[in-house]
Amino acid sequence: MTPPLTRTAHLRAGRQSEGARLVAPAVILIVAVTGTAIGAVVATSLGLLPLVGQPRLSADGFTALAGDLRAATQESLLIAIAATLLAAAIGLTIATTIVRAGHGVRLVVALAVTVLTVPHLVGAAATGLLLSDVGLAQRWSGISPASWPELVGGRWPWATVLELAWKESAFVALVVTASLGRRYADLREVSVVLGAAPRAQWWRVLLPLAAPALASSSLIVFVYSLGTYEVARLLGRAYPEPLPVMAYRLFTGIDVTARPQAAATAVVATGLALSAAAITLPLVRRLGADR
């Protein structure tokens, strides 16, 4: 007779194989599209797909504007990390409110969904109108334009980060709320009857349960914030630009020989995003996304 544990292992292996077969078409499509795009960008950045002239393997795309590329990388990381942390914190707070509150939950959910439906372009424009030195907030507060902090286009990307955090916190909140579901309500009651006060319920039950969804949604926010163009373009300063703004400017400029530099900028952004995914996905698994 097959021992129970071995039978379980066989069943699990069978389920995994079945799952792999089911997702295979989607994986093939994604790898084909994304792989082709990344391959083309990498090849361009290395001088193998020049718009004019002969292909020549070279790292010039990365070295020609090394200083700008470094500054753009720092700016992009600053924006993405700050926006992600803020969105995660606000999103988790909203999710906590939704799963704990008995009344008014629908209103909070409706507000979150409404925020998600607003395009980033509109959000960025509205943020600019609200936070610039001649914006609505300045007028309502009565602070003179000269004394108003440089929230838009200033040294620190306040407005860019705030806009991204505002929109993406709603996304994080809904993902985390959906992941908690009814299970949290049941486990919260268990923790209560075992003696957990509200703070312990949050720390020992809600947070560990929300962690996989929080980590994976934060990864999406980070990658999106790293790659977003319109928000940083509308609300950020002229120099240093974040990577997507720089890549777009170089790619659409009149100097067609700058294409490898544009591609190199995109390769750096893609590399950062893939690195973030490589770090976070094992963490998501360790946090128990498969439980």
Binding site: V190, L194, A197, R204
Partner: protein, 369 residues
Amino acid sequence: MTAALTLSGISHRHPGAAQPTLAGIDLEVQDGQMLAVLGPSGSGKTTLLRVAAGLEQPEAGDVLLDGTSVLDVAPERRDLTVMFQKPHLFPHLSVLDNVAFADRLRGQSRSQSRATAQRYLDLVHLGDLGPRRPRALSGGQEQRVALARALAATRRVMLLDEPFSALDNHLRTSMHQLLVEVRAALDPTVVLVTHDLDEAALADRVAVLVEGRIEHCDTIQTLYTAPKTLAVARLVGGFNELPGVVRSGVHHSILGAAALPTSLAADGPAVLLARKEGLALTEPHTTGTATGLVVEVRQSGPHQDVIVEMASSRPVAATRLTVEVRLGTTLRPGDRTGVVLPGPEGLWVVSGASPQVAERSSTSMLTTR
């Protein structure tokens, strides 16, 4: 002696509900005692536990622990815990850390709480599964861990909300045995909510809850032999009901006169209750027996139930009796048989009920048509 847990005049109504879920519940559980709350689905059993635990607020009444009201005490600070119908183990914790959860909340170190948890895991015979994650456990193992976790909380009173109802018969029996072992080892004060009579039989006393009211609270033996109301009799099952009238210590029904124990001699309308295993079959038309027609022979566990339609002079009241017999009866539908009622010691009456009561019941073993 002050009871460990007292529920006094508890009433509860769910928001928007026309009828109360609980209506004036009074219950006491003494220290070290186990009380089963038995009732059909929707009778308010779980709500009663949730009110006691503080997870629901009652409309009226009080919850007392050792004589002190805890109605205004938050559930996490009440000295009782609940084991729910589903195990609800924390998926992010190992089995050992699930059991150690309450101690960690009390501020004990990880190693201290794990050492204590290990003892409770040993108690439920799962001592070697501590490092596993809950998803690697079977349903029965999960319930054992949930029991260990509730015990490790070391609360004054433990409330069990149909904890074994989702398990198969074999596992349920082993959990019942485990509960007996745990009671012998720790002597906890327990309230067990169940709809299973076998499970209720584990308790010292059984409170029967029907439509939000306690109809009867006594030992399981009393419930089987002397139910206070028809509702209790029907919940316990196995009774034949014979509507009739008591006059001078004798019950008169369509089957004739049946002498009652002297303690049940109050005159008036009453339903005679006779357990199916208390009746016997005999040759038809034997002196002193009623004769009827076998209409069905039904398998009932290790026995057989013979349903006999009794002959009656009144055309509106053909009566069916269920008689439990050993396996291997040769009776078949269409056969005639005699039915012998037990003596006074095997009969019970529920006074005040009119024949119409029985007619309305679809669960009654005896039907009139």
